[in-house]
């Protein structure tokens, strides 16, 4: 029996490439915002904020492409899940990129350098986050369910690390109320990183749904 729908297959591959591109760009944004924080580099922070528009546009493009393919090709079963998953993953990636922008904005609000507090736990959380993004990209590329599940473990590490950092900063605040405004920026960054981890875990859930057609809760 001859294989049909080669053009639709090609369209799906193009869409996948766009999702990969968005994932790569998101990863780049995370790395860049981490660099802005580490070096207290306002130029780099501004660049992250500026780049965000490009990622927003790519997310919309992915949604438009997927909707058009649904309308024109009437996909079912795996094809349909693949399209819906692409849209959902794009939404999660876009949110993650937004948080990267928020972190850069927080860096811009910090006024004193060297920082009043130690950011080594934040650096550690960023490393796990980049590791997690790479894992999500590979899981998507290879349809690797085990890697998608592993995202949940990495998210737990991020939760632990950001929680520790948060506790540290709270203590600091109570000891030196004068720097509360400064430290608030870092507690916000903790929260942003923690949320980014959650969105990457969602990506893992979407990937498992795409493969199996069932919903799994990795965020518990």
């Amino acid at each position: 029996m001859a294989a049909n729908r080669t053009i639709f297959g090609e369209n799906l591959a193009v869409l996948d490439q766009k999702v990969f591109l968005l994932a790569r760009k998101t990863m780049q944004q995370i790395a860049t915002t981490a660099e802005a924080l580490e070096k207290y580099d306002r130029e780099i922070a501004l660049k992250v904020i500026e780049n965000d528009n490009e990622l927003d546009a790519l997310e919309l493009e992915i949604n438009d492409d997927a909707i058009l393919l649904i309308a024109k090709q009437q996909p079912v079963a795996t094809d349909l899940r693949r399209l819906v998953t692409a849209m959902k993953i794009a939404t999660d990636l876009e949110r993650i990129a937004d948080y990267a922008g928020n972190i850069s904005k927080a860096v811009l609000r910090v006024e004193t350098f060297p920082y009043v507090i130690d950011i080594s736990l934040l650096k550690e959380a960023f490393e796990t986050l980049l590791d997690m993004t790479e894992t999500a990209i590979v899981a998507y590329r290879d349809g690797d369910i085990e890697k998608a599940k592993a995202l949940s473990d990495l998210d737990n590490i991020i939760d632990d690390t950001t929680y520790k950092a948060l506790r540290q900063y709270m203590r600091h605040m109570s000891l030196q109320p004068v720097v509360v405004d400064e430290i608030m920026q870092f507690t916000n960054i903790c929260r942003y990183i923690e949320r980014m981890g959650d969105h990457l875990t969602n990506v893992g859930e979407h990937l498992i749904y795409m493969a199996k057609g069932k919903h799994y809760d990795l965020n518990s």
């Binding site: 029996m1 049909n4 996909p75 079963a77 899940r81 057609g213 069932k214 919903h215 799994y216």
Partner: protein, 274 residues
Amino acid sequence: MDTKLTTKPAKEGVKTMNQPVAARQSVYRVNDLNLWYGDDHALKDVNLDIKQNEVTAIIGPSGCGKSTFIKTLNRMVELVPIVRTNGVIEYHGRNIFDKDYEVEELRTSVGMVFQQPNPFPKSIYDNIAYGPRVHGVKNKKILDEIVERSLRGAAIWDEVKDRLNENAYGLSGGQQQRLCIARCLAIEPDVILMDEPTSALDPISTLKVEELVQELKKDYSIIIVTHNMQQAARVSDKTAFFLNGEVVEFDQTDRIFSNPSDKRTEDYISGRFG
């Protein structure tokens, strides 16, 4: 925390679109049905349980045996002289292949609608009244009632009520097909077999017939052969996928079109072959 996967529990009170009703009665039970056209083995070990008041869709590529199967259900396939069958088809518990089974009785209970609308070259009224007359109904008033009820049942009454004495050939293709469905309803069948009932119709008429199928399943059990997979997805409760004379998969339509278990089903419904 471990990463053991647990499926999210469905929220209470949340229902899927086509909620199966528990323990519907079977209309047909097909057990190990085999059929040959001469040496050609057209149906192989077919097993299906067809439930009352459901729409069962039969899908599959050309030559997979779906029309042969549906014609076996009213033994019409026996009109082909070289046909041989074995296995059992129970219709309400009785094997239709039993020697003493009255085929006329079977065909009275099991109506059929074909691909091409095939009205008789008679008036609209006479098309519908034909069956009841053959069955001995002579009273004009009763016939009038049957005609109106059948035409209403087939959602065509409003379009033809003022021209019941005109020739049925004057109707459009879509109207003719609904007339044929009405003709089928006139003898008050139990099951309606539909062999690609919309493949010769325009899209609007197709949607009308599809809506009608949804209406009719309240009172009848419907088995529909279709090339149009989206149609199967829209109208049916269960879908059977036939390939090379075998039933590859038979399941809830919701499942077949969202997450089929067999790779061949997936390839067919997503248009990868066929």
